[in-house]
């Protein structure tokens, strides 16, 4: 061993930071020596230095934030919370891990047998090994699921256990997660972030890689149909109706409750990582005894569902009737053997601490073995003696209901007041079988980096297992969580804890494994429309529309704010630049006329803004006095559904709903947009009494323009990534159609509000210039025509120029191309509704003549021809959006449950 002096120093100061009740530590032995399996890491840490580690820590947090790793927090501080990762891992030695993983495998096998029994013959109850109330009073025991899975088929495929090291140095099981365990995705993200911030450490220390586990998980999932068939032999008459193609090439989906779920990020991440389709309940339907994905191309059979929806929400027909998260008829399809759900509904009955006291006996009875990993000492109050013990020691125990209600927390007797203890005692006495008392473990601490120093934090480890052909694969790692501040009794992410990577030391370095190298014999090829649910397509469509809308709004707002900043009424004509009609105008008509004209110009532009933000009546009726505050409202008011901030929020939430579709870079851009959106929101003073002028002073500063500039850059980046980095499959088409429709509609609004009314020539010039700028076509115009602004020519460029990617015709042509290749049933020679609409729009537009359109109509101050054309086109586009939604996006209708 080389020079160990320095890192021993770090170890000593860490030792001094420990308090008296923190007896057992992961890094330090009982005699305060650094455990051998920490030596490699501590040496590396010493070389790096704590200061450098602190800056890497910041780097990690930045990476996680930019990758959009979040955890949705419910309750008081709602919202997406960035994921916190401590750079110091929990390190477990190879030999220690052997003991743990053998114990976990044994426990998983045992729990699987228990599940099989509880949903089969229930001999464990009849033979007195489990008191009836432990199962029958547990809301996770679902009577509809009895007999759902044929005997002999693995029930518990996906299993997670929470472990903590007790003062005796052994790992104890604190709880079992048996229905839809979460956390594996965060483990991957933690590892990725840490590996990027500390690239050399892994090699030096020799850490087990995680990819083996996920590769084996993928293989096990693919093997499920084969296993199932095997399990069914002799069990049931009706054989699975799966074809051999389905068995070889099953369609796997990840069923998520949706973006509001606390671990939605992970659902998207796992789906993306494993290459499965992310779906919500509404995306699936039961038809002819099978489960189908509603995709743009029609219904596509689903063979395997990895669910993240809780048991009771899986099927509104047989389970919770008010569930909107599941699939009606799902249980019956499972019974028929036509779909596999991992884990099958009903498995939540094992998330039940009242089982713990009985496990040692059950283990002896079912597998003839002693439990290798002890469960935390648990007393079930359904037995009088145990209840008496719990009641007598209430102030020292942890009290839990046997069934964990959403949002329910364990109670720590030591934290409760006398009255609270009395209430709890009364609750237990009223329904004793619904409660357990558990020993409060002083579990081990692990060093954490806190303000540049190592401090001890108590840690809990969640481990993950997945069923293989002959047993279980244990993930060599896990999700370690540590308390946020010392002294707290709970260690949970929901409660504000911090996560850690978990390193299992490998005896020798392992090769890097990519998930791509798997199963060459079973390459899945999917048609472009496959795998994309209609809901995902619809969200992509709206991402396109909102992104385009935000861009249009921001661009126009920028023009307006620029003007508003200048001068009292916010208009400085000379600023308008090259065209510069102002001098000529002022010379001819004098200052007074100039002011009147400014107003006319301003009104037109404000009308455009109103149209773009659909925030009627605002500028259409109101006087110009409220200009600044109205501008601010249109930009920043979250209450105003058409405001820029609201559009951005809608954009982010539509993008979040298809989280699995975005590349890391795209998601970073999206995150920047979200952050900017938050900044903009927060720039509005909360006090609503602030008068408009003050508000204006506060907000109309360079900062606002700067953030609009920034926003334009982000939105352009998004549009660039969309155009260049997305495969041009049906998903991209949905997004692009959204963009085209929105861009066309915005252009129409702009033209209608600024160009239809006939104005004085020089005002018209001003308007033409602003419209060109807002339509991002000013440069093109200048370079192409070089001349002064000419109404018909401008119309030509904005409406009919096929080469201008901002023109109306360009949008319509692109739309027509997309619509042509949308999947649809052939209707002979008849055109589909959307094909007819786009043809109408194109014909209308192409048959018009810009010279005619520019003409003022007789006896009016309007260009009626232009107005009529624009109104027609807008109507067609709105209809088109509806038709697309109806035909391709919403296969489902609201459901009604009746008795």
């Amino acid at each position: 061993m080389t020079d160990t002096k320095n890192w021993k120093v770090i170890g000593d100061s860490y030792h001094n930071a420990k308090s008296a009740d923190q007896q057992i530590d992961e890094m330090l032995s009982r005699d305060s020596q650094i455990n051998p399996h920490w030596h490699g890491f501590m040496q590396a840490l010493d070389t790096l230095g704590l200061t450098e580690m602190e800056s890497r820590h910041k780097e990690i947090q930045r990476l996680l934030r930019e990758n959009g790793v979040t955890y949705v927090v419910h309750g008081e501080q709602q919202g997406h919370r960035p994921w916190e990762l401590d750079p110091i891992p929990l390190i477990i030695s190879n030999t220690d891990w052997d003991v743990i993983s053998t114990g976990l495998t044994q426990r998983a096998k045992l729990l699987n047998l228990i599940l099989e029994d509880l949903y089969g013959e229930r001999r464990l109850i009849k033979e007195g090994l489990i008191p009836p109330e432990v199962v029958y009073a547990h809301a996770g025991f679902l009577r509809a699921c009895v007999g759902l899975i044929p005997a002999g088929f693995p029930f518990l495929l996906n299993y997670a256990a929470d472990l903590a090291r007790g003062s005796d140095g052994r790992m104890w099981v604190l709880g079992d997660r048996t229905q839809a365990p979460s956390g594996a995705g965060y483990v991957l993200e933690n590892r990725t972030a840490l590996a990027r911030a500390l690239p050399n450490l892994f090699g030096e220390v020799g850490v087990h890689r995680l990819s083996f586990f996920f590769r084996s998980l993928q293989n096990s999932v693919l093997d499920l149909p084969l296993q199932y068939e095997f399990g069914q032999l002799g069990q049931r008459e009706s054989a699975s109706r799966m074809t051999s193609h389905q068995k070889d090439n099953p369609h796997v989906v990840v069923l998520t409750p949706g973006p509001l779920n606390e671990t939605y990020f992970e659902h998207a991440y796992i789906a993306n990582y494993l290459g499965y389709t992310l779906v919500q309940g509404d995306d699936l339907t039961v038809w002819d005894g099978r489960v189908w994905l509603k995709s743009l191309g029609g219904l596509r059979p689903v063979d395997i569902i990895l669910r993240r929806v809780d048991d009771i929400f899986c099927d509104p027909l047989e389970l919770r009737q008010d569930s909107r998260l599941g699939v009606a008829g799902l249980l019956e399809v499972i019974r028929q053997g036509n779909v596999m759900v991992v884990n099958p509904p009903g498995s939540g009955v094992l998330e039940n601490p009242s089982l713990m006291p009985f496990l040692p006996n059950i283990a002896k009875h079912l597998i003839g073995e002693e439990l290798r990993l002890p469960s935390v000492a648990t007393w079930w109050c359904g037995e009088p003696k145990q209840r008496d013990y719990v009641l007598a020691n209430l102030n020292q125990l942890v009290i839990k209901p046997i069934y964990r209600q959403p949002g329910g927390h364990p109670l720590f007797g030591s934290e409760l007041s006398r009255t609270e203890l009395d209430t709890l005692r009364a609750q237990i006495n009223a329904e004793p079988h619904l409660y357990v008392g558990q020993e409060y473990i002083h579990f081990s601490t692990t060093p954490s980096l806190v303000e540049g120093k190592l401090e001890p934090r108590r840690t809990i480890l969640r481990t993950f297992l997945f069923a293989e052909k002959d047993g279980y694969a244990v993930m060599p790692g896990g999700l370690t969580r540590c308390e946020g501040e010392t002294g707290g009794l709970t260690v949970s992410i929901q409660g504000g804890g911090v996560s850690k990577d978990t390193w299992i030391l490998a005896p020798e370095p392992e090769p890097h494994i990519s998930l791509w190298q798997q199963r060459t014999e079973r390459i899945q090829t999917a048609a472009p429309s496959e795998g994309l649910s209609s809901r995902a397509a619809e969200n992509l469509f709206w991402v396109g529309r909102y992104a385009e809308r935000a861009e249009g709004q921001a661009r126009l707002l920028r023009i307006m704010l620029d003007k508003a900043k200048m001068g009292k009424m916010g208009l400085e004509i000379s600023h308008l630049g090259q065209v510069a009609p102002s001098t000529r105008f002022t010379e001819t008509f004098g200052e007074e006329a100039r002011e009147v004209s400014e107003l006319t110009y301003l009104r037109s532009m404000l009308r455009s803004l109103t149209g773009l933000t659909s925030s009627h009546p605002s500028f259409v009726n109101k006087g110009e006095q409220s200009l600044e505050s109205e501008l601010l409202s249109i930009m920043l008011d979250t209450e105003n559904s058409g405001s820029l901030v609201s559009t951005l929020q809608a954009l982010v939430s539509a993008a979040y709903a298809v989280r699995d579709r975005w590349s890391t870079d795209t998601w970073r851009v999206m995150n920047n947009i979200e952050n900017l959106c938050t900044t903009l929101e927060n720039s509005v003073p909360k006090d609503s009494n602030t008068n408009a002028q003050l508000l204006t002073d506060l907000v109309l500063q360079e900062a606002e323009l700067a953030s609009l500039d920034q926003l334009m850059i982000f939105l352009s980046a998004l549009s660039g990534l969309n155009a260049e980095s997305m495969t041009q499959t049906i998903g991209w088409m949905s997004l692009d159609m959204g963009r085209r429709i929105e861009r066309a509609l915005l252009l129409i609004v702009l033209c209608r509000s600024s160009l239809v009314a006939v104005q004085d020539e020089w005002i018209e010039d001003l308007l033409l210039e602003s419209v060109l700028a807002a339509a991002e076509s000013l440069i093109t115009y200048r370079s192409r025509y070089r001349a002064a602004l000419h109404f018909p020519t401008v119309l030509e460029l904005l409406l009919l120029d096929e080469d201008n990617p901002r023109s109306l015709l360009y949008q319509l042509k692109r739309l027509q191309e997309q619509i042509r290749v949308l999947p649809r049933e052939k209707l002979g020679y008849r055109l589909s509704e959307e094909e007819q609409l786009i043809l109408q729009a194109l014909t209308q537009l192409q048959l018009s003549d810009t010279i005619d359109l520019a003409e003022r109509s007789e006896h009016t101050t309007q260009r009626n021809g232009l107005e009529k054309l624009l109104v027609r086109l807008a109507q067609i586009l709105v209809d088109m959006s509806d038709v697309l939604t109806h035909t391709y996006f919403s296969h489902s209708q609201p459901s009604v449950v009746s008795n």
Binding site: R122, I125, K126, E127, G128, P132, E133, Y136, A137, R143, A144, V146, T285, V286, W287, D288, G289, P316, L317, E318, Q321, A328, G329, E332, R335, Q336, A430, E431, H433, S892, Q893, P894, S895, V896, V897, S898, N899
Partner: protein, 309 residues
């Protein structure tokens, strides 16, 4: 006694329904005193996918889906059932578990409620352990202090359990008003207690709740009851309805039925369809419907005596 029962349920929708999933529990059970000889389902429109299975409680469930647009759904279940007369004190719907000698039976019938309670909670025979699930709360019958207080009065010291339950059933009949307009299938039990009125479903739930409050195993029975037409009149077609009552578990004897709505113990005029913890376990017809409108429901039951062929 032989019966032919036609149970017809009709849903009319304001807008066409494209897709629906349903579960029907409309097939009479077999038990010691009852034999279901025939059971036919006619569903219109014709279901594309349908199947029969047994649920957790052994009831027959008929699952069907309709995958075509329809404005109306009609489910007609026609059953032929033979009901054997039960002796008043011995109408156990399951075979007795043990010694069938009269001496044991008679002793068991006179078992005090304290003794019965003790056996139910300490006996480790498999069948008794299984019955303890019927002591627990169920979705529609939560624990309520009022139930305990109400039930207690029937359970005087040393009283035989059967006698106590009979008294409880009679008190429910007397204290509560049968009022079909007052409750729906979804009315919570505490409303029924507060207003002292309800229908057979509520009477059954009350009886079960009272028994469970005292630690006894009780379950819900759904079925039909023959209604006798006034003398000199032909029975009206479709005038009957589904019925419900409760059953209590006696160690050594099994389940004994009580009908608090009619203050009687079912004999040969009650036809058992299904049993479970409460109504939610045995809902005759339930479904998930995909459509946007509202619906109207029409149910008719026709329960006629048949002469043996």
């Amino acid at each position: 006694m032989n019966y032919k029962i036609i149970h017809k349920t009709e849903y009319s929708y304001t807008y066409p329904v494209n897709l629906c999933y349903n579960e029907a529990r409309l097939t009479p059970r077999h038990h010691v005193y009852q034999q279901c000889n025939d059971n036919q389902f006619v569903v219109q429109p014709e279901p594309k996918d349908c199947r029969e299975r047994r649920d957790f409680f052994g009831n027959t469930v008929y699952y069907f889906t309709i995958q075509q647009p329809h404005n109306q759904l009609t489910v007609t279940a026609t059953s032929r059932v033979e009901v054997k007369g039960r002796e008043l004190q011995r109408n156990f719907t399951e075979a007795r578990h043990h010694d069938d000698s009269d001496r044991v039976t008679s002793e068991a019938e006179h078992l005090s409620w304290e003794e019965a309670h003790q056996q139910l909670h300490t006996d480790s025979k498999p069948e008794i352990l299984e019955m303890r699930q019927y002591v627990l709360n169920s979705p529609m019958i939560p624990a309520m202090p009022e139930l305990h207080a109400y039930a207690e009065k029937s359970f005087t010291t040393g009283r035989p359990l059967l006698e106590a339950v009979e008294d409880l059933s009679t008190r429910l009949y007397t204290d509560f008003t049968y009022d079909p307009g007052f409750t729906t299938v979804a009315t919570p039990l505490d409303d029924v207690i507060k207003h002292r009125r309800g229908v057979c479903q509520d009477f059954a739930h009350l009886g079960i709740g009272c028994l469970r409050a005292l630690g006894f195993a009780a379950r819900y029975v759904s079925g039909y009851m023959e209604t006798e037409p006034p003398p000199d009149q032909e029975p009206l077609s479709g005038a009957d309805a589904s019925h419900a009552w409760f059953s209590v578990y006696l160690p050594q004897l099994g389940w004994v039925d009580f009908d608090p709505t009619n203050n009687q113990m079912p004999t040969d005029q009650h036809i058992t369809v299904a049993w479970g913890r409460d109504y939610a376990d045995v809902t005759p017809l339930k479904g998930v419907v995909f459509g946007s409108g509202t619906h109207e429901l029409f149910v008719s039951v026709d329960c006629k005596r048949e002469t043996e062929a």
